[in-house]
């Protein structure tokens, strides 16, 4: 499944647009499809977008699932912002103080699936 960012946003910066992408990604993950996200035409990047999409899903579904997603036509700067968001989210999953909260989130997501 190919998600063309340009079809629904002009930027990869805001949390609102990140949430839109999250919905599309989550649907594709649940359908167990190969996923590509095409950043063609996107030149604005900031962490709220990635925090609310890829990183939030990484915490929920595991980062292996997220790392399988192919990023197409993303600029160097976009990749830097993406990487720092993912690194931060991974750090959180290893952070003892946050583990309980993460477990709660994961459990509630699993309950929703049930």
């Amino acid at each position: 499944m190919m998600i063309q960012l340009k079809s629904f946003t002009n930027d990869a910066a805001s949390r609102t647009k990140g949430l839109l992408l999250k919905t599309k990604l989550e649907q594709a993950i649940n359908e167990e499809r190969n996923i590509s996200v095409d950043f063609d035409g996107i030149d604005k990047f900031a962490s709220p977008f990635f925090n609310n999409s890829f990183s939030a899903l990484g915490i929920q579904y595991g980062f292996r699932t997220i790392e399988k997603i192919e990023l197409l036509n993303i600029s160097d700067n976009g990749k830097l912002v993406f990487d720092s968001s993912i690194e931060n989210a991974k750090f959180l999953t290893d952070h003892n103080d946050q583990k309980k909260e993460i477990e709660d989130i994961t459990n509630s997501a699993l309950n929703e699936e049930d």
Binding site: N10, A13, T16, F45, A56, E87, F91, L92, Q98, I105
Partner: protein
Amino acid sequence: MEEILDFWGEYNLNKSIYNEFAEKINCILQTDADNVIFDFQKCKWFHASLTSMLGGMISICNKHGKNVTLNIVKDSPVEEFFNRAGLFSEHFNYDILENRNAIRVKELDLNNEEYINSYIDNILKLAPVVLTEKCRQVIYSTIYEIFDNAEEHSEAKYGIHAGGYWFPKKQKMSFSVYDTGIGIPTSIIRNVDSKMNSKEAFLWALKSGNSTRQLERGVPRGVGLANLIKFIDLNGGAMTIISNDIMYVRENKTNRIELKNNTLGTMINITINADYDHIYTYGKEDLT
């Protein structure tokens, strides 16, 4: 009844000026006067990045129902600067005076994403040098992270204010955002650990992965300030954060943190080198 706020001498980015601004903000918050006079008659120079705090002060007056009067020497350099910086058009209904270098003082609506995009685009259009695509993207991300940080910590009662300047000869940009909210240390102490002092709380907020709204609805946060520091280090620029009683300066890859007079809000100021070499370095070093 009136309250006179005197602005004497030169207003640069330093601790004594931040202390004076804190006193002035506290004075505005406490005064019963219904008319506040900002007296710039003896002001010789005013740094562009302080216009965001000045905008915040005027906004606090307005939102407390106080009349604001500017006392300023007509046709003086300071009057001309304020006019070019957009202070008069934003707060006193003057016509907008176009200026190629000024990032005009604005009270920002951070909930309006299109507006924010357009505001940052305008900053980039003002650049006195031809910015590479990569450079544009890096500056965009940096400014967006500052706005996001302002939105996270602020709970701003009196708005979020921005302003700055491009310096064509130096190929530098100085830009600041002042939110009139509760401040970073107060936010951390209130939401994370009530036993922390303000310095500990502030340093906690600087670390990657730390955020008062970490994992809110399953969303990780806490990248913004850490990314800003990384960018400033690689760019060779400087960043100052004034928040509650904290003055933090990041320059030459070192932290300097001092206590200052306490007041509300947070100002983040960045001065960045906008020439090709400095901006381009950011991506290259980080990708290796």
